[in-house]
């Protein structure tokens, strides 16, 4: 059999097979539905978004800020001083009791931040490190000097991302809006991870929601926020507190990473006083 003969026979066989099963296949396998592809919002850095007409903001948070500690309204942790610890749920109370027991014994309970887990909100805002903030009409970019943790507060009118597609994070998803002289920031979509803590011994769940009301006081030298934390999986009702940050004009954030070999030289992260 020549090559041309083989080609003719093969082609003919394929055509016959196609005619025989084609109607059957088309009847059994209708065209699949089209995949729905969402339209993402215009980027906060897109010129078309930045150029949209908007009222002038009452203040700008652009600058470097440092948590005010050791005074009323201050505090390194979000914490229990001066705010009152809310009534914890039984599950959260177990963690807090374990933390209190460890503290009484001079031990450290679940120091995940010291072991390179992200601090997450709200703790990232009260680390003893400067926070660089850059405010644009569409967003505020906050970069903590602590592990260079990034937080973006969107101001361009977008809503929180569809829970079915959002990537949950330790800092959550922050959406802000101006109300008079106040910036109201609503943060949701937190990660549901046992390494995310609101304070020592107080966990944060995926249901955590944080509302911050920022104001500029002291002639623009101090930023103040009334903070409300809600997490029905871990405490009852609203947990409220106030924190302030002072403007620091002689300091910039630097590159900071959690280094395993550095931790080996830090007794605070490697000694035998840790309760895992």
């Amino acid at each position: 059999m020549t090559r041309s003969t083989i080609r003719r026979v093969t082609t003919g066989a394929c055509m016959a097979l196609s005619l025989a099963v084609g109607p059957y296949l088309s009847a059994q396998a209708p065209a699949p539905p089209a995949v729905t592809i969402p339209t993402p919002p215009l980027s906060a850095l897109a010129p078309a978004n930045l150029a949209k007409p908007r009222p002038a903001p009452p203040f700008t948070m652009t600058g470097n800020w440092f948590i005010q500690g050791g005074v009323p309204g201050g505090g390194w942790l979000f914490g229990r001083t001066p705010a009152v610890l809310p009534k914890l749920t039984p599950a959260a109370q177990q963690h807090f009791d374990a933390y209190a027991k460890a503290a009484a014994e001079g031990k450290v309970y679940r120091d995940d931040i010291g072991n390179c887990w992200p601090a997450g909100l709200p703790v990232i805002m009260t680390r003893v490190w400067p926070i660089a903030m850059v405010q644009l009409p569409t967003a505020i970019y906050m970069i903590s000097g602590f592990m260079n943790s990034l937080r973006i507060v969107y101001l361009d009118g977008r809503t929180h991302t569809d829970p079915d597609i959002v990537v949950r994070t330790f800092n959550g998803e922050s959406i802000g809006r101006w109300e008079g002289d106040t910036l109201v920031v609503d943060t949701r979509n937190f990660i549901d991870d046992p390494h995310h803590w609101v304070d020592q011994g107080v966990p944060g769940s995926g249901d955590l929601r944080i509302v911050e009301r920022f104001r500029m006081i002291n002639d623009g030298k101090t930023l103040e926020a009334d903070i409300t934390l809600i997490d029905p999986k871990n405490w009852v009702g609203e947990w409220k507190g106030t924190r302030r940050w002072n403007r620091v004009d002689d300091i910039d954030i630097e590159e900071v990473s959690c280094l395993p070999d550095l931790n080996e030289h830090l007794q605070s992260t490697s000694s035998g006083v840790h309760v895992k």
């Binding site: 003893v128 602590f146 002072n246 300091i251 605070s268």
Partner: protein, 129 residues
Amino acid sequence: MKKILAASALALGIVAPAVAHHSPAAFDRTKEVKLVGTVKEFRWQNPHTWIEVLVPNEKGQEVLWGVELTSPTYLIRAGWKSNTIKAGDKVTVVGNPVRSGEPAAIFVSLTLADGRVLHERPARLGGTP
């Protein structure tokens, strides 16, 4: 990091500076140790700097102490440089000891051979007022 247990440290007063990276509960803020010895290594690093100091104990044995400090961000604002101390320097370091009894502490102050005293950070950046 393995170190020989025991030390010739002296219990002193109370200081409670803020720490940045981790829980400070590992350290006993009610106690201070005074380490008179020789620098073995000084690491200038974010987020923490640390000093290793060889300190003779009561038996004349050298004990390696680890002392952790805050980051250079703050140290330079308190007068430090990366070469403020180096291996072989004679120093006196005061710190709050770790509760586990290991030869380790968190930094309070450093006295150089020429008598200069250095702290970690100014009060406005979280230091002790």
